[in-house]
Symmetry: C2
Subunit: 412 residues, 2 copies
């Protein structure tokens, strides 16, 4: 994989120019893209910027995010073929202002929901790369890009990161601006980042947001609460081993590790994520679903058909549960630094019919808490499983610092 | 003015067809638009729908809201001339699904901020109609439309409603979906509605959201806390009289009325509205402001230039104040039903150089509370001043029920 931190260091040491760094990424894309199919559109004649903390860094933008120079087809060309926004989304401008170069638009499941893309998993091409941010995760995993942008409404950043064996952050809700991004659910949609390792993610998030504290050093002796997420069902093959392996590695590296059961209200919140998401989705996708029903992406259409029964009262009740659960969860962080949980139930499923199950992600999206994926375990078939460090809302620096700890613990 | 409730009743009684209702609005637009200049674009051959609770109701859509059939120029044709979104925004779809007919796009200050439109105040054409939802307020005030959609980030729904002498609601934050609407500040942007009277607003909001309780009957003997908003400075000419007049009318009509001082934290929240708004605006308008600086609307550009100093730390501190203030304000609503406050410091200012001062609105936008404007007083020169009923977050039905009480109290 291409490390953003490494490219940046070489540029700072005068061993690499921004043009040279960008050329490394473009050459890698030329080499791997035909196999992996991570891009919807590639930028024409991308140029490195001379200045900026991300000068020379090639970035991929999930194709539900507006770009002024490239079409934005939402993973739904049946409806959005050739759609050309006038403006760049704020996250795209933040990257450009930091010096990065947009290398292209990466594949997304239709409207960042269910219908899969043709993208293959770079670790094992017979398996899904996950979704909805399929192309961003796969492009980083295949060593084509040092940085890519995705979004998570259910589990669309952390799960594909787990499946592709890359680092990623789903930051606190709205730390990165959710603007110029096709809306699925305004309560849930969260912009996130993929990169080779946690330091790479941390540098990018830090310079994009102008928050230097987010480039956090590794935490020493973190207090870790392991969450098995049994409220969301048991793990699959590879999952249980991965979590045990990560917890043991953490303890061995000096963390204080104990298993934590979530309060009932938090488990209840997991159950109502879908009510919030789908009630809002029926509004957010109203034009597409109601005016373009026949050409609406079929898997998402079925999901929309199956969720028409939710009423405003259901939605209000769900939001009250979410508010209570956020408060209860915040209490837990008084005694621990981070939670540690599986990023996905197990290894990436075989085939491209499904992008996998977001059941170990949906709660944390609803809670708005920062989550950082760390590759933890490689199961048979070169199939990765990740764990996520989860900190209190707004404490992204702690989630990152603990993820750096976990990353080292898992390597040693 | 054209009353939505009256048109709806006549249709239900068989005295009017939806086509006839729509024709009334279209004829009124033909008659007054040349004088008032409330529209950016008119729909070509608008047709009434046969079915739906808003069949025959003509609606105006503020031109920062996406429409699939009409351009959306954001009040900034220098940058967005001819911009044609692919989709209708959710609020537009909700209106169409309820049976309404889009009559056109209404004028907005550039990006719903400062730079005024050519729209005149229908009560006195030498004065501003207010902004940023200038065209929506003026079109309803001039009797051209029974319903119009606006947005409020500072005071852009309630203030123009006050200036144009119409009813309006800024609902609880995100009750109406803030999607497909040009973003100014994602923490603040709120979609709202204008109509002739409070019942008209209530019916529209109720059918759009599928929440029948929002078509609330008049409240009897409400407990009203009068807020002078002295933390935001004293009222102007017309303002002080209007609030006293409204408070006296409420007491005479049977309300329990007392003056309430806001807790210090709430007054502090008023001060930091601008930090939240401008810190987010620099992200939301990044493409327009950074890539199109020379053609960026000049008054908003000055405001952007003057707010570049806000840091992430300033923003975080401001958001903490806002959270505390929301909690403190919510406590107040345990003892009263609604707050009553001026909707604007006074009468609409003379001329079109400014759309007036949002200082009596910004706090309530930041608090996310529902606010309903009720025309309260006519000062010399036929210049209206409104008062707003303000309820706890999520209690839009109570804000409406109390506004209906105030409307009757002020008429009798």
């Amino acid at each position: 994989m291409i490390s953003l931190a490494d490219q940046k260091r070489r540029i700072e040491q005068g061993k690499l120019t921004p043009e040279g760094a960008l050329a490394e990424s473009l050459a890698a894309i030329d080499k791997h893209e035909a196999d992996i199919k991570a891009f919807v559109t590639r930028a024409k004649n991308p140029k490195a910027q001379a200045q900026g903390p991300l000068a020379g860094i090639a970035v991929g933008i999930k194709d539900i995010i507006d770009t002024a120079d490239l079409p934005t087809e939402m993973g739904a060309p049946s409806i959005y073929k050739g759609n050309q926004p006038r403006a760049d989304a704020p996250i795209v401008m933040q990257l450009k202002l930091a010096g990065a170069t947009v290398a292209g638009k990466t594949t997304t499941t239709a409207f960042a929901a269910n219908d899969p893309t043709p993208t293959l998993n770079p670790r094992n091409r017979a398996h899904t790369p996950g979704g909805s941010s399929s192309g961003s995760a796969a492009a980083v995993g295949a060593g084509m890009l040092p940085l890519a942008v995705g979004t998570q409404t259910g589990g669309s950043v952390i799960r594909p990161a787990s499946f592709c064996g890359v680092a990623a952050i789903k930051p606190s809700y709205r730390l990165l601006p959710p603007v110029g991004v096709k809306c699925f659910s305004w309560t849930l949609d969260t912009v996130g980042l993929f990169a080779a390792g946690v330091e790479d993610v941390a540098i990018a998030l830090s310079v994009i947001t102008g928050r230097s504290e987010l480039n956090a050093a590794e935490m020493t002796s973190p207090r870790i609460g392991v969450v098995t997420q049994d409220f969301a069902g048991p793990p699959e093959a590879g999952g249980a081993e991965a979590l045990q392996h990560a917890a043991r590695a953490a303890a061995k590296a000096g963390a204080s590790v104990r298993e934590l059961k979530m309060p009932d209200i938090v488990a209840e919140a997991w159950k109502i994520h879908n009510v919030v998401q789908q009630f809002e989705a029926h509004q957010a996708f109203a034009w597409e679903y109601r005016q373009n029903y026949d050409i609406f992406p079929p898997m998402l259409r079925r999901r929309m058909d199956d969720s028409r029964q939710y009423t405003a009262a259901d939605y209000d009740a769900a939001r009250i549960v979410a508010v209570k659960a956020r408060a209860a969860l915040s209490e837990i962080f008084k005694d621990i630094d981070v939670l540690l949980a599986l990023s996905a139930p197990g290894v990436p499923p075989k085939g491209l019919d499904s992008t996998g199950d977001p059941r170990y992600n949906a709660l944390w999206t609803l809670m708005g808490t920062p989550c950082v994926n760390v590759p933890a375990y490689i199961a048979d078939g070169n199939l990765p499983v990740g764990v996520q460090t989860i900190a209190d809302y707004g404490d992204d620096a702690k989630a990152i610092a603990a993820a750096r700890f976990m990353e080292r613990a898992l390597k040693s």
